[in-house]
Amino acid sequence: MNIPNDLKYTDTHEWIRREPDGTLTLGITDPAQALLGDVVFVGDAKVGSTLAAGATAAVVESVKAASDIYAPVAGQILAFNDALESTPERLNASPYEAWILKIRPENPADVDALLDAAAYAALAGKD
């Protein structure tokens, strides 16, 4: 399993990267894309909305199942990676490069409470 050390994670299999400008970049993890199988659609992104932590922010649909993407912390959804409209399979091929959302967190310190790589690896290993 590929679980980069410099990212934060949620127990719903999203990865989060803190950017220098204070925004967050979010995607799904390598274990997540393996569980999902071939991704065929990514969309329904709530760009512009301010969401509470845990609210549905987007949807990833694979041949196997539809999976909601959740806001990891309270914040505003700034952008969706449009490239995923035409080539959703990037999420399978390069899950840590094919980001899904950019988020401005309401409280940057909230991100500290997310899982680190070791904690996520322990969780993902149990699936």
Binding site: D38, F41, N92
Partner: protein, 355 residues
């Protein structure tokens, strides 16, 4: 690996979409040993099968012919779908689905003793089967097994031949050309390796499902079951009523108005169709019986069962329906399956008549 009909089977070997494409473009292979072959023999074997099956096995002229059929119960419900072939004089083989194999055999044995047919029923759990499917499938089989070329080169679709290594039939569940190879289970593993070395790409259940759905082929348990008749499941073409043959279930379905009908559906938006989704049509609410994302078409497709109310307008290919996907209604176009055969897309969403 996932559980399927009592067997452990691979969902895919890496990417189900890649495996799907390889079958349409060159050749893939499936371990389909979960299906059960049953040999029916004896002087009354044909009479017995003509009683058991909704299609007429008397049409299997000559050894080597095969046909697709349903087996019905007394209410006309589908017990299973299967292929029956004429193996040799007074000997036939039927191939049953894994999930229903045990109940099918019990059903067959019960009919045999109840109706007193002089026929033997030999369950062949000693056999394995590998399906090689795609435009290059037969050539790959001949490269792996050169001794089979002369014997199988002139097989037409739905014909089979018995040879030293086993049986080869020009049949399949993908809408592509290809062979299904039945061999003793002990030799299956080395056969698989030979085929793989010759270029056949292993494919799993995921691709098997998207391929058969594109080909408009039903899956027992999803698209039909004991609660549906063949006419309600798009399988009316397999029912042979032309002779006076009294097959099991005939009286329940002959002359009875069909109140539900099968169509294909193409979703006109981004999403994936899945079995169980409600379908809203002019004639009432129906259901998606099988759904998926079609790699060849690039959109979601499904098989749907719609009501056909008496005195109302019948659903037709070209009509729009609304399908409920996670609480939102999305439009879809009804089509006549198949969606794809021999690598060609057969439906044209742009040219279909508007409702």
């Amino acid at each position: 690996m996932v559980e399927f009909g009592g067997w452990d089977m691979p969902l895919h070997y890496g990417s189900q979409i890649d495996e799907h494409h390889v079958v349409r473009r060159s050749a893939g292979m499936f371990d389909v040993s979960h299906m059960l072959s049953v040999d029916i023999g004896g002087p009354s074997s044909l009479t017995f099968l003509r009683r058991l099956l909704a299609n007429d096995p008397a049409k299997l002229h000559g050894v080597g012919a095969a046909q697709y059929t349903c087996m019905l119960n007394d209410q006309g419900g589908v017990v299973d779908d299967l292929i029956v072939s004429h193996s040799k004089h007074d000997q036939y083989r039927i191939v049953l689905n894994a999930a229903t194999a045990d109940s099918d055999v019990a059903w067959i044995e019960a009919r045999r003793s109840a109706d007193g047919y002089a026929a033997t029923v030999h369950v062949r759990r000693d056999l394995a089967m590998i399906a090689v499917q795609g435009p290059q499938a037969r050539e790959i089989v001949w490269n792996a097994l050169p001794e089979t070329r002369a014997l199988t080169q002139s097989l037409a679709p739905f014909q089979m031949v018995d040879i030293p290594l086993g049986r080869i039939s020009r049949t399949g569940y993908t809408g592509e050309d290809g062979f299904e190879i039945t061999v003793p289970a002990a030799t299956a593993s080395s056969l698989w390796d030979s085929l793989q070395r010759a270029g056949a790409v292993p494919c799993g259940l995921g691709a098997r499902d998207t391929l058969r759905l594109e080909a408009g082929m039903n899956l027992y348990g999803a698209d039909m079951d004991l609660s549906t008749t063949p006419f309600e499941s798009g399988l009316g073409w397999t029912v042979d009523l032309r002779s006076a043959r009294d097959f099991v279930g005939r009286r329940a379905i002959e002359g009875v108005r069909v109140s539900r009908v099968r169509f294909g559906a193409c979703l006109l938006g981004r999403g994936v169709l899945r079995g169980g989704m409600l379908v809203h049509s002019a004639g009432g609410t129906g259901v998606v019986t099988s759904g998926t994302f079609s790699p060849t078409l690039g959109c979601a497709i499904g098989l749907v069962r719609l009501p056909r109310p008496s005195g109302g307008q019948d659903p037709e290919a070209g009509h729009l329906v609304d399908i409920e996907i996670r609480g939102t209604r999305m439009p879809a176009r009804l089509v006549d399956p198949p969606f794809v055969r021999r690598g060609e897309i057969l439906i044209n969403l742009n040219n279909l008549p508007k409702s």
